[in-house]
């Protein structure tokens, strides 16, 4: 092994493979990245051994530590139609631009009367949103006494629209003889670990009143090797 005599100065290094790899990875991550808007609240779900993937097509109720509930639909068509029907029911008008913007939003947790202002607000301003009522993001009302149970209406109408959208997409695909792969909409509940269960119970009651009994509870994956599966 003979060493080449160095000419002095910086050593020459062939970076080509490294650059190739770097760009390959950049391309991969760029293509797989899916950008989402920030959720209105950050909740830290408890961990479990649940291995079921959350279906892409779901209706989500998020409950934060203070018991505020937030509502979201993943299917944009269903979301749009649900907003139109809610708008008619609660007599809160929305402009076309607001409806379009709403379909791009993640879940929200305001009274429907504040929703137009919430949609118009800038993304950074939403965190500190107060709205015309001055109450801000107090969660979707689920008051059963007044009664002002908007959450129940959202779930009922959102669920109905999601199923309708699913069925019509399925019918169209069958008519054209195409393979149909979409999943049926499911109901998901995401809840912070420290939330009092009583708040969850209240939300679940809204679902069971609507004869919806099956849920996907979102949990983070159990870390480490602490879980022993006795069936193995």
């Amino acid at each position: 092994m003979s060493k080449k005599p160095s000419k002095g100065g910086a050593p020459v290094l062939d970076m080509t493979p490294m650059v190739d790899l770097a760009f390959l990875l950049v391309t991969f991550f760029m293509l797989t990245a899916s950008f989402r808007m920030a959720e209105p609240v950050v909740v830290d779900p408890p961990s479990s051994i649940g291995q079921v993937d959350l279906p892409d097509n779901h209706i989500l109720v998020t409950i934060d530590e203070k018991g505020r509930s937030f509502f979201g639909i993943t299917n944009t068509t269903a979301k749009r139609e649900a907003l139109i029907e809610m708008s008619a029911k609660y007599k809160v008008p929305f402009t076309e631009a607001q409806i379009v913007k709403f379909t791009g939003l993640p879940s929200f947790g305001v009274d429907i009367k504040d929703l137009p202002a919430y949609i118009d607000a800038k993304e950074e301003a939403r965190k500190t949103f107060r709205g015309p009522s001055g109450r801000g993001q107090t969660g979707i009302p689920l008051d059963t006494i007044t009664p002002n149970n908007q959450l129940k209406d959202w779930i009922a109408i959102g669920g109905k629209k999601a199923v309708e959208t699913y069925n019509s997409a399925k019918a169209t695909a069958q008519k054209k003889n195409q393979a149909f792969k979409a999943e049926k909409p499911r109901y998901a509940i995401k809840c912070a670990a420290t939330t009092k269960y009583i708040y969850v119970k209240e939300v679940v009651k809204n679902f069971t009143d609507l004869k919806i009994y099956q849920f996907n509870l979102i949990t983070s994956l159990e870390g480490g090797g602490t879980v022993i599966n006795p069936t193995k």
Binding site: L25, F29, A33, P46, S48, D56, Y197, T208, N216, T219
Partner: protein, 211 residues
């Protein structure tokens, strides 16, 4: 620094001299910098896995005039504040009567040696049966569908325990998930979330207050 392969396409054997060697060199440092910057950004913002979830079915509210407390082989797990768990077996007896003594609560906790061990003991028979089935299945002695059916039958066996999970106002969501998780780990087939009853609430208060 890095070089670009030069003299491309030249297939003349030992032909031309590489006259332009110097001019084809290019400083790739800024490009590499940028590439790694982007790479770092995308790696950090990437969300790899979809959120996982746990499927749970809540019971339908019973018809108003029907009582639901007639559960055979029931074990009631009560959750309360400070991550504490209590349980009692069988029917609830607020006071001693001719069928048996007054119900007392036993405390458990979330450590491996407590709730996990308790459920493991309670479910030993069923777990062993399922384990035997799994072994058979792994050795290809059982069809997939038969295996699944048998496991389901074992889980819904009449003699196995039904777990009723009840919480008071203070219990957190995490406790509930942990208990359900523990039941799942112990392949319990029958468990259900139920509303807490007044006497149970009183018993918890008595315990929590006393300790």
């Amino acid at each position: 620094m890095a070089e670009i392969a030069e003299g491309g396409g030249g297939s003349h054997k030992g032909g031309k001299k590489r006259a332009k060697k110097q001019s084809t060199r290019m400083d790739m440092t800024p490009m590499v910098d940028l590439a790694f910057l982007l790479l770092t950004f995308f790696v950090l913002t990437a969300t790899f896995s979809k959120p996982k979830s746990m499927e749970l079915t809540f019971p339908a509210p019973p018809p108003i005039d029907q009582k639901i407390d007639q559960v055979k082989n029931g074990i009631t797990i009560l959750l309360t504040k400070e991550d504490r768990i209590f349980y009692y077996e069988g029917e609830l007896r607020p006071e001693a009567d001719d069928k048996g003594p007054k119900t007392t609560l036993t405390e458990l906790n979330f450590s491996q040696g407590s709730l996990h061990k308790y459920l493991l003991e309670k479910n030993k028979v069923m777990q062993d049966q399922i384990k035997a089935l799994t072994v058979k299945h792994d050795n290809k002695q059982l069809e997939d569908t038969t295996y699944k059916r048998l496991v389901r039958e074992r889980k819904s066996d009449k003699e196995s325990y039904t777990y009723l999970i009840k919480t008071d106002d203070q219990a957190t969501y995490k406790n509930v998930i942990d208990v359900i998780d523990e039941l799942n780990i112990n392949v319990v087939g029958k468990y259900v979330m139920v509303d807490i009853l007044k006497p149970e609430m009183d018993m918890i208060n008595e315990k929590v207050g006393a300790n």
